[in-house]
C-alpha cells in the first residue's frame, strides 16, 4: 500500500497557475471518483481551496498513479505548471495532511477555515465512494489532530491583522458585538475591512461618513448601513460604541471637544476609537477621556505582529503533536 499527496499551493504557485487547477467546490467528490480510473489507485480525495489544490492518493501503486496524474494534468492544463507541483510520499504525505488541517500550511498561520474545507473535501470523496480503509483512517485522524492542536496549543490565539486585532479589542470592551453601533469616518479600504470584520461579528448599525458623499453611500450600502454627510457626523457620535477613522486629512478630524460634548448624552458609556489613518485622524488627547479606549495603527499593527510571532513559536509543538498522533495511528502506507 502506498500513500501520496500531489499538490500545489500559495507557496509554490502564483494565483494564475493555481486558478487553472482549481476544482469547483461542488465537484470535489466527482473528481476524486474520476481519479480512481488511473491504474494502481484504490482511493483518492481532492482538496481545492483558493490557496491550494491537492490530490491525496492511496493504492498498491499510488506512486506510479501520481506520475500518471501529473502527466495527464500537464497534457490537459499545460506542461509549464510542472515546476509548481510538489509530492509527499508515505509518512510525509500523512504529516502534510495534518499540517494542512491544522492551518500550519496556510497563508495565515493557524487559520481555521481550512479545517472545514478539508472536512468537506473528505465528505464528498466518501459520498462518491472514492475512499476506503487508508484514507478514511488518515483523514479521520487528521481531523482529530486538528482539534487536539487547537485545544492544546495557542496556534489560533490572537488576531494577525489590523482588522482582526480591532475586533478582538472591541470584544474585550463590549463582549458580544451584537447591538454594537459603529461609525466609519473615511470610506477607505482599511476602514472598510475593519468595519466588515466588526459587522461579521454582529455589529448591527454602521454609519459611514466621507468628504465625498457618493463613496460614503457606496460603502454604507455594502455594509447595510447609513451614509451621513461629513458635516453631520458629530451628533451621531452620541449613539455609537465604536469609531473607525481613516481619512486622508492632514490634521486630526476627531477632537476631544467632539467627545466631551456628547459624554452626558452617552451616559459615559465606553467608547472604542480605532485610528487607522496616517497622519492620525484622532487627537491623542481623546484617549485621556475616562471611558475612551483609543488605539492607533501602530498599536494595532504591533498587536497583530505579536500574535503572528506567538503563532510561529507554536509550530514546533504542533509538529510534535502531529508526529505523536501519527505514530499511534500506525497507518499502512506510512
Amino acid at each position: 500500500m502506498e500513500l501520496v499527496c500531489v499538490g500545489l499551493n500559495h507557496r509554490t504557485a502564483p494565483v494564475e497557475v493555481r486558478e487553472r487547477f482549481a476544482v469547483p467546490a461542488g465537484k470535489l467528490g466527482e473528481s476524486a471518483k474520476q481519479l480512481l480510473e488511473i491504474e494502481g489507485l484504490g482511493e483518492s480525495v481532492v482538496l481545492s481551496t483558493c490557496n491550494r489544490t491537492e490530490f491525496y492518493l492511496a493504492g498498491d501503486h499510488a506512486e506510479d498513479a501520481a506520475a500518471t496524474l501529473r502527466r495527464k494534468l500537464a497534457e490537459s492544463h499545460g506542461a509549464d505548471s510542472d515546476p509548481h507541483w510538489y509530492e509527499h510520499h508515505r509518512l510525509s504525505a500523512a504529516k502534510h495532511l495534518c499540517r494542512v488541517v491544522c492551518g500550519l500550511d496556510s497563508m495565515v498561520l493557524g487559520e481555521t477555515e481550512i479545517f472545514g474545507q478539508a472536512k468537506e473535501a473528505y465528505r464528498q470523496a466518501l459520498d462518491a465512494g472514492a475512499t476506503s480503509g487508508v484514507l478514511n483512517r488518515l483523514f479521520q485522524r487528521a481531523f482529530g489532530v486538528g482539534k487536539k492542536v487547537r485545544t492544546d496549543t495557542r496556534i489560533q490565539e490572537g488576531a494577525t491583522s489590523v482588522a482582526g486585532a480591532s475586533v478582538e479589542l472591541a470584544e474585550k470592551i463590549f463582549g458580544k458585538l451584537a447591538g454594537c453601533r459603529v461609525i466609519v469616518i473615511g470610506a477607505g479600504e482599511m476602514s472598510r475591512q475593519t468595519a466588515q470584520a466588526l459587522v461579521s461579528r454582529g455589529a448591527s448599525s454602521v454609519f459611514v461618513t466621507n468628504r465625498s458623499f457618493d463613496k460614503a453611500e457606496a460603502l454604507a450600502a455594502e455594509m447595510g448601513g447609513r451614509a451621513v454627510k461629513f458635516d453631520e457626523w458629530q451628533p451621531v457620535l452620541a449613539g455609537v460604541d465604536v469609531v473607525i477613522s481613516s481619512t486622508s486629512a492632514p490634521h486630526p478630524v476627531v477632537l476631544p471637544h467632539h467627545i466631551e460634548s456628547v459624554r452626558r448624552v452617552r451616559k459615559f458609556r465606553p467608547l472604542f476609537l480605532i485610528d487607522i489613518a496616517v497622519p492620525r485622524d484622532i487627537d491623542p488627547a481623546c484617549g485621556d477621556i475616562e471611558e475612551v479606549y483609543l488605539y492607533d495603527i501602530d498599536t494595532l499593527e504591533q498587536l497583530a505582529d505579536e500574535a503572528r510571532t506567538r503563532r510561529q513559536r507554536q509550530i514546533a509543538e504542533c509538529d510534535r503533536i502531529i508526529e505523536e498522533e501519527l505514530r499511534k495511528l500506525n497507518l499502512p502506507g506510512t
Binding site: L169, K172, K267, F268, P270, E290, Y295, L303
Partner: protein, 254 residues
C-alpha cells in the same frame, strides 16, 4: 467540629485561589474555580449548620460568626453570578477575600469556642442581621468586580494586553453590568435589613443602624447618579470599592 469545617473552607479557598491565579498567570482558563468554590461553600454550610444548631438561631453572634456568614454570603453570590455571566475569574478574585474573612475568624479569641443557645430571639432581629450580612456579601462581590474592572480598564488604557490576566478577564461591559446588578441586589437586601432593624426591639442607642443608614445612602446615591446622570465605569468601580472598604471599617468600629 465547627472549627474544622472553617479550617477546611479556608484551606479550600486558599488552594482554589492559588491554582486559579497560577492558571491566570499562565494565560489559561481554569474551569475548576467554580468546583473549588462549591467545595468552599459546602464547608461553610457545615460550619454554619453546626453553629446554628448550637445557637438554635441564625449564627450571627460575635465578630467571628459574622465574618464567616459574610464569607458564605460572598461565596453564594459568586456561585450565582459567576457561572451565569461566565465570570469564572470572579472566583479567583473572590477566593482571597473569603480567605481573609475566615482567617480573621480563625484568629484566637475571635470565634466563641462554646456557642450558647440564643435566648429571647426576635424574628426582626434575625431578619435584620441575616439580610444585612447577605447584602454585604453582594456588595463585597460588587467591590471584587470593581477591582477587576479597574485592572482591565488600566490595561486597556495603557495598551498592556499581553498578560495572562488580560486574556482571562471578562469584557468591560460584562464586568460593569454584573457590578451594577450586584450593587442593586446589595442595596435592596440592605434596605430590608435596615427596615427590620428599626422594627426590632433595641436596648442600646442603635449606632450601628445610623452607620447602616449612612452606608445605604452612599450606595443609593451612587446608583441614583449612575441611573439618572450616568457615570463612567472607572468612577462607579472606584466608589463601589471605596464604599465597601469604608463601610466595613465603620462597622468594625461601631
Amino acid at each position: 467540629m465547627d472549627r474544622w469545617f472553617l479550617i477546611a473552607a479556608t484551606a479550600l479557598a486558599a488552594v482554589g485561589g492559588v491554582i486559579g491565579m497560577w492558571s491566570v498567570h499562565k494565560g489559561t482558563r481554569n474551569r475548576w474555580t467554580v468546583i473549588w468554590m462549591i467545595a468552599v461553600f459546602a464547608a461553610q454550610l457545615g460550619f454554619l449548620s453546626v453553629r446554628g444548631e448550637a445557637r438554635a438561631a441564625c449564627p450571627l453572634v460575635g465578630l467571628g460568626e459574622i465574618l464567616v456568614f459574610l464569607a458564605w454570603s460572598l461565596t453564594l453570590f459568586y456561585l450565582v453570578v459567576g457561572p451565569t455571566y461566565r465570570l469564572s475569574l470572579l472566583g479567583v478574585f473572590t477566593a482571597p477575600v473569603v480567605v481573609v474573612f475566615q482567617a480573621v475568624a480563625l484568629l484566637p479569641g475571635v470565634l466563641d469556642p462554646d456557642p450558647q443557645r440564643v435566648t429571647g430571639s426576635d424574628p426582626w432581629r434575625e431578619t435584620h442581621a441575616a439580610m444585612s450580612v447577605l447584602s454585604y456579601g453582594s456588595l463585597a462581590l460588587a467591590a471584587v468586580a470593581g477591582v477587576m474592572f479597574l485592572v482591565l480598564d488600566r490595561q486597556l488604557k495603557d495598551h498592556h494586553l499581553q498578560s495572562g490576566l488580560f486574556r482571562n478577564l471578562p469584557p468591560v461591559r460584562e464586568l460593569l453590568k454584573s457590578m451594577v446588578r450586584l450593587l442593586w441586589i446589595g442595596v435592596a437586601l440592605l434596605s430590608i435589613g435596615i427596615i427590620a432593624g428599626f422594627l426590632m426591639p433595641r436596648q442600646s442607642g442603635g449606632g450601628h443602624l445610623v452607620a447602616a443608614l449612612a452606608v445605604w445612602t452612599g450606595y443609593a446615591g451612587l446608583l441614583s447618579v449612575r441611573l439618572v446622570r450616568g457615570l463612567t465605569g472607572r468612577r462607579t468601580a472606584t466608589v463601589a470599592v471605596l464604599l465597601f472598604v469604608v463601610s466595613l471599617s465603620v462597622f468594625a468600629l461601631v
